[in-house]
Symmetry: C2
Subunit: 297 residues, 2 copies
């Protein structure tokens, strides 16, 4: 990687942590410890499950409990059982009280202030350029924060991703989607050595997936490629494809193929851009209109 690039990123890191990072802490913690302020902020007006707070802030379970007790005794927060009847009885939800919402609004206001203090000194034109560049950096940073890892298809996060995938195609296919009418995919076919399931996560939340079946004596088959709405257009789909193809190539396969629906236009565009060529149908998938193949070097 070019040292020019590295140098630019380092300069960026330094300037930004100085200007934004340090000030953010300052703004946040004007009258209570930083950890408490952050927690209060993260709970938000809508309330949040304790487990989710732990994950997002990366805190020790005991430490978080103690922080919650402090906020509770300050009358800012109530921690109670999860609202949903029939839900997991172990899960607890932190919610803001009236006073807590007021303090949250104060933090929100400070966050606005910080943003204003950054834009204020700039002339109109420069201001627009800064905002545009920030939007670009933000988007690309998010994309670089997405982690793609092999995952058991039985993992709850994998299940959630596949459910989201099914929900989406049900919405987009002309005639909905009934799994019973589609060619089934069994979990065990997506576990090495038979295949592989990849999960893409952003801060632990599933935002994409993709799987490959390594058919004996036939091209490998790519299935269930899905990228969540919020992170589309960031190249996640392409990264999933690349890794799946890499896995097949490592196993000695020389071609991969897949079928897809005519309504999934971005996906089709992506397959073409990634080097897939349209081929004759190789199966009788009820919902497929296009079949693609890519030869691996």
């Amino acid at each position: 990687m070019s040292s020019e690039f590295i140098a630019t990123v380092r300069r960026f890191n330094r300037t930004v942590t100085q200007r934004v990072g340090a000030l953010d802490d300052q703004y946040m913690s004007r009258d209570r410890p930083l950890a408490q302020a952050r927690l209060l902020w993260e709970i938000g007006p809508g309330g949040t499950e304790v487990a989710s707070l732990r994950a997002r802030l990366g805190l020790d379970s005991g430490y978080l409990s103690r922080l919650l007790r402090t906020l509770e005794s300050d009358g800012l927060v109530t921690v109670g059982p999860a609202g949903q009847a029939g839900g997991d009885g172990r899960v607890r939800v932190a919610a803001l009280t009236e006073a807590g919402r007021a303090e949250w609004a104060e933090l929100d206001e400070r966050s606005d202030e910080l943003a204003r203090s950054i834009l204020e000194p700039l002339s109109g034109q420069r201001r627009e350029r800064l905002v545009a560049a920030m939007a670009e950096v933000e988007r690309l940073l998010v994309s670089s924060m997405v982690v793609i890892e092999p995952c058991s298809p039985g993992d709850p996060r994998a299940r959630a991703a596949v459910r989201a995938y099914a929900r989406e195609i049900a919405q987009r296919f002309d005639d909905g989607f009934d799994p019973a009418l589609s060619r089934p995919v069994r979990d065990e076919d997506l576990v090495p050595p038979a295949g592989l399931f990849l999960l893409a996560t952003l801060n632990g939340e599933p935002v994409g997936c993709g799987a490959i079946k390594l058919h004996a004596g036939a091209p490998a088959e790519i299935k269930r490629v899905w990228v969540s709405d919020g992170v589309r257009g960031l190249g996640i789909g392409r990264r999933l494809l690349d890794q799946l193809e890499g896995h097949a190539a490592e196993g000695g396969w020389t071609a991969v193929r897949l079928d897809t629906n005519r309504n999934l236009t971005e996906a089709i565009a992506m397959y073409r851009a990634a080097g897939y060529r349209e081929i004759e149908p190789y199966n009788t998938e009820r919902y497929a209109h296009h079949w693609f193949e890519k030869r691996l070097r």
Copy 2:
């Protein structure tokens, strides 16, 4: 200011502090407390005055002393009197030992690593876009960190700025610059109500200046507009001009003028862009080739 802009800046702040800020801390403090690592880093291979460290890191004097003692007893740093003979005998300089330099290099390497970890997951094209956007953000953030304030012309930082100004024009004028041959500017003419001296600083370091003399019964006169090399092109000159003009306008002046040398082409371009029109010479300044005037609203 548009709430759209604010929202973008806030999203940026959040993503970046998460991705860069948090990781930066982690990378930095892998085997010693964050404060120590930061300090070691800030001292750098060249050594740094203790006062400057205090300012840059914003630390309590006692706390900093203690941190330095720790690094000293770990054999990483030596703190001694400032090198320069005849200098201020109270000032002390922290310098890295051999071991300190090694550890500094390690931190430097980690900083590279962090940068790489950000770029790594991106495809070539996205990588380029990210780096370009980061460079833009960095530049504009720096410009928004520059603080412009009235300052006594006798202030050491003001003196330093004026010295830098003189050094630069001496270099750029065809026949050098001898203050004795130029029309003199007395400090007291740049102090309210006779005039005003503005100092532009970045993290406390002077990076620009500008002054105005409010002549009784004549247009106000702008003098000593200088912007340091490193922050040129960020609109600092324009901000200095705006504030000086504003000061004159508040005092009831309806026009400002200035003289300049033909070699200062960017300055001349800036004056024109800011609404200055070239006029006949209004003085006999030895080094001037152009005279400009701007009418205030």
